[in-house]
């Protein structure tokens, strides 16, 4: 079979399943007894195996098959979830990811899996011995699977002398009509008593949506052995495991657990829903976006003509067009939006691995995973966030002993939060670690010759924070695998600024550090303020503007040779835009217009000659050839076909 045409789908879906598996494995590690999670994992692993086998990737099939065996044992409760086992499983996940990577690059899944398979097999055999000793425990587990409604029935049945059994039926692997066999089993059981529940559900069993085994709960007056004898009489049944469900107090304790499991289930449903979508090539979306951009440019042009137009019909039509294009723009934007979940998903795993590696105890809390951001931003924001979280784990969170000595809880916390604020998306990475040690920063900077003698004594903490973002700066004494090579924060800052965003740090000694990243919702179409400087038109992104004020010449003061103005009780630098842009200024009045621009908490005043107005503009890059021009973020085409350049206010001061 020619499978090439399916390769892309295979790759995409595999990635999705691997992501899903990773996530669920993490959940499983936290709630090792939750059968829903195991089921979910089993499903993903099974699908993955099937897909790999269809595509003919043998190594991948082999590995997933072995993993499936392990999951099966976990599901049967014959294997206990331990962190060692989890390590092995996570290693397998890594192997799968790299196989996927290999397949997409070279089309084959060459990978040494022997080691992993041995590890997986070992984890199997160890536990097989343990099974017999653990039967007591498995009974409790069965109990926990029973939901409230069933419990009610079981309680009533018990009071009338009925017994409740959990019966696991394993059908021969070679059986051709599994559902028919299952049907016979159900029929037989129906004659013996009442079936109150089955996993998978009866519908799924009828549709053969099960592997080779299913479990039913039966209420019956019959003895265990009688039932067993009746069932074994059915052909092509390999094994029957019958356990009586004993109603004990433990069940009542498990109520909380049940709730937890339910919540999880809801998450699962939600998750599955988000996956139900149409796959569209990003290029097609980009194309659509370009067309909308063109439409907006034409619309702006029509609006320009409208002012000369006397015919009320024309005016009404143009206004209608405007409404439609705005809606269309919004709709296309929404299509391009993806939840930050896509980036966040990889962090729990990363935090887990790193904290084990460093022997630190860390909980990662994530908020607002469903916050949506433009696809282009999502692709770019991953690496900076990895840097920041690694930093927090390595430099921020202390070792458990040190935390105890400081009187903090042993387990450190990292919070990852995303939310919308106006036209921006804010992503916060905060930890409750040791905070930034300013003395250390100072000394390090001094050592590296970034500070002079005077500066060392004078610099405020805010200024020191800025040093952290300088290239080649790291306070870590020793270089570790995780961070400290001094290539961290400046890269983060550059990346974020290239996305027209900004980053700020708030830190307090022994309380923790918080990085706040602010990003524009979209990179393609923005609201901008058009201004004149000399004879040239420039655009300021509206989200970088704080206010527009008029200033008089007499209000300009000189501080160390630099012009400053007072703005709301603060002294802020005055940037003569015509100087920066090398234009002759036309204005020579005492009064001049200042656009107050902001970069994080910092403000600056920009003098401009004239304000034209607010407009929706489409950002076009200047292209690679001019990528070194710092003060210009891009260009836009105005309604009349003219080009206006967009000021990069982050690079103005």
């Amino acid at each position: 079979m020619d499978t090439n045409q399916y390769l892309e789908i295979f790759l995409e879906e595999s990635e999705e399943h691997i992501e899903n598996l990773n996530e669920n494995l993490l959940q499983l590690e936290k709630n090792p007894e939750d059968s829903h999670i195991v089921d979910e994992i089993f499903r993903s692993a099974h699908t993955l195996k099937g897909m790999a086998a269809t595509m003919g990737f043998e190594n991948m099939t082999k590995l997933t098959h072995k993993m499936e065996d392990v999951f099966q044992e976990i599901r049967n409760n014959s294997l206990k979830v331990s962190s060692n086992l989890m390590d092995v499983l996570f290693k397998c996940m890594d192997a799968l990811s790299s196989m996927i990577g290999k397949i997409s690059q070279s089309g084959n899944d060459a990978y040494d899996i022997e080691n992993l398979i041995r590890l997986l097999e070992n984890s199997n055999s160890n536990e097989e011995i343990a099974v017999t000793n653990n039967s007591e425990e498995s009974k409790v587990y069965v109990n926990k699977q029973v939901n409230l409604y069933e419990r009610d029935i079981i309680e009533k049945a018990a009071s009338q002398g009925y017994k409740t059994y959990s019966i696991e039926v394993i059908i021969d692997k070679n059986c051709v009509m599994k559902s028919a066999r299952a049907f016979i089993v159900f029929n037989t059981l129906d004659n013996l008593g009442d079936i109150i529940d089955s996993t998978p559900s009866v519908e799924d069993i009828e549709d053969e949506k099960f592997d080779d085994r299913f479990t039913v709960h039966l209420i019956s007056k019959q003895d265990k052995d009688v039932i067993k004898a009746k069932l074994t009489a059915i052909s092509e049944i390999n094994e029957i495991n019958i356990e009586e469900i004993l109603y004990s107090k433990e069940i009542k304790d498990s109520k909380n657990f049940e709730n937890a499991a339910n919540i999880n289930n809801d998450d699962q449903i939600k998750h599955n829903k988000t996956n139900k979508s149409v796959r569209v090539d990003i290029e097609r979306l980009d194309n659509l976006m370009n067309l909308v951009s063109e439409l907006i440019i034409i619309k702006t042009r029509l609006e320009g003509l409208e002012s000369n137009e006397k015919n009320p019909d024309t005016i009404a039509t143009i206004e209608y067009l405007e409404r439609i294009t705005t809606n269309l723009h919004d709709a296309v934007m929404k299509v391009r939006m993806v939840p930050v979940e896509r980036v966040f998903n990889r962090f729990p795993r990363m935090v887990r691995d790193l904290s084990r590696e460093l022997n630190k105890k860390i909980t990662l809390n994530m908020f607002g995973q469903d916050t949506e951001v433009d696809r282009t931003v999502i692709d770019e924001i991953g690496d900076p966030l990895v840097h920041l979280i690694r930093n927090s784990i390595d430099h921020g969170i202390e070792t458990p002993e040190l935390r105890m000595r400081k009187g903090k809880p042993e387990t450190g916390t990292i919070n990852l939060k995303a939310y919308h604020e106006g036209n921006n998306v804010i992503i916060e990475v905060s930890d409750d670690g040791s905070g930034i040690n300013f003395e250390k920063v100072k000394n390090k900077a001094y050592e590296k010759g970034m500070l002079s003698d005077e500066e060392v004594n004078e610099l405020s903490n805010e200024k020191l924070v800025k040093l952290l973002f300088e290239p080649g700066f790291s306070t870590s004494d020793k270089i570790s695998d995780i961070s400290g090579r001094g290539v961290g924060l400046d890269v983060v800052k550059n990346k974020i600024e290239s996305l027209n965003g900004s980053i700020e740090v708030k830190t307090e000694v022994d309380k923790g550090t918080k990085f706040v990243i602010k990003l524009p919702l979209t990179l393609a179409i923005i609201q901008a303020l058009l201004v004149m400087v000399g004879n040239e038109k420039y655009a300021f992104p509206l989200n970088s503007i704080s206010e527009i004020v008029n200033k008089n010449k007499s209000e300009v003061h000189l501080v160390q040779g630099k012009e400053v103005v007072m703005y709301r009780g603060k002294v802020i630098p005055l940037i003569r835009l015509h100087n920066v842009l090398d234009v002759e200024s036309n204005e020579d009045n005492d009064e001049f217009i200042c656009v107050i621009i902001k970069k994080g908490d910092n403000l600056a005043a920009c003098s401009v000659d004239e304000l034209i107005g607010q407009q929706e503009i489409v950002i076009k890059p200047l292209g690679k050839y001019l990528s070194n021009v710092k003060v210009i973020a891009g260009a836009t085409i105005l309604g009349d076909g003219q080009v206006a350049l967009i000021i990069d206010s982050n690079n103005l001061f």
Partner: protein, 144 residues
């Protein structure tokens, strides 16, 4: 056998490989880009795309001339970099036999200032200086 677009700077003739030429445009409004190198005249709006335009005269250290009706912007695409170069005239395509194309002697004083010329092509009794497109389109990155 390769084809070249013949562009003129004064009386000198320059050739550009035809498969690197995207289009030839009449001069339009050029928007100056501040802080860009002086030979970058600015950017133009080419059917919705922003294209940087450079003065090839300035790059070759020739005197600049005013634009007239014959002035053209030749849009060159090399890999993913697109630029426009301003020439006095561009209205001819010639075919040159591969054996009539010589690489230039780098050490010769004759060509030193014009390092953007990669090869020399000969057609009948004309001499065509052939632009080194790779160099032309990466100039920015080398310079800074």
């Amino acid at each position: 056998m390769s084809m070249f677009v013949v562009t003129k700077l004064g009386s000198e003739e320059y050739g550009i490989e035809i498969d690197k030429v995207q289009s030839i445009e009449k001069i339009t409004k050029i928007t100056r880009v501040p802080k860009a190198p002086s030979f970058v005249k600015g950017v133009i709006n080419l059917r919705g795309e922003i294209i940087p335009v450079i003065s090839i005269r300035m790059l070759l250290k020739l005197d600049e001339v005013d634009f007239d009706d014959d002035t053209r912007i030749v849009i060159i695409k090399n890999n993913d970099i697109v630029i426009g170069i301003i020439v006095d005239n561009a209205n001819e395509v010639v075919e040159i036999n591969d054996e009539s194309v010589d690489s230039i002697d780098v050490n010769s004083n004759l060509y030193k200032k014009e390092s953007f010329i990669g090869r020399i092509g000969k057609v009948e009794n004309r001499i065509l200086m052939l632009f080194d497109i790779d160099k032309l389109t990466t100039q920015q990155e080398v310079k800074i």
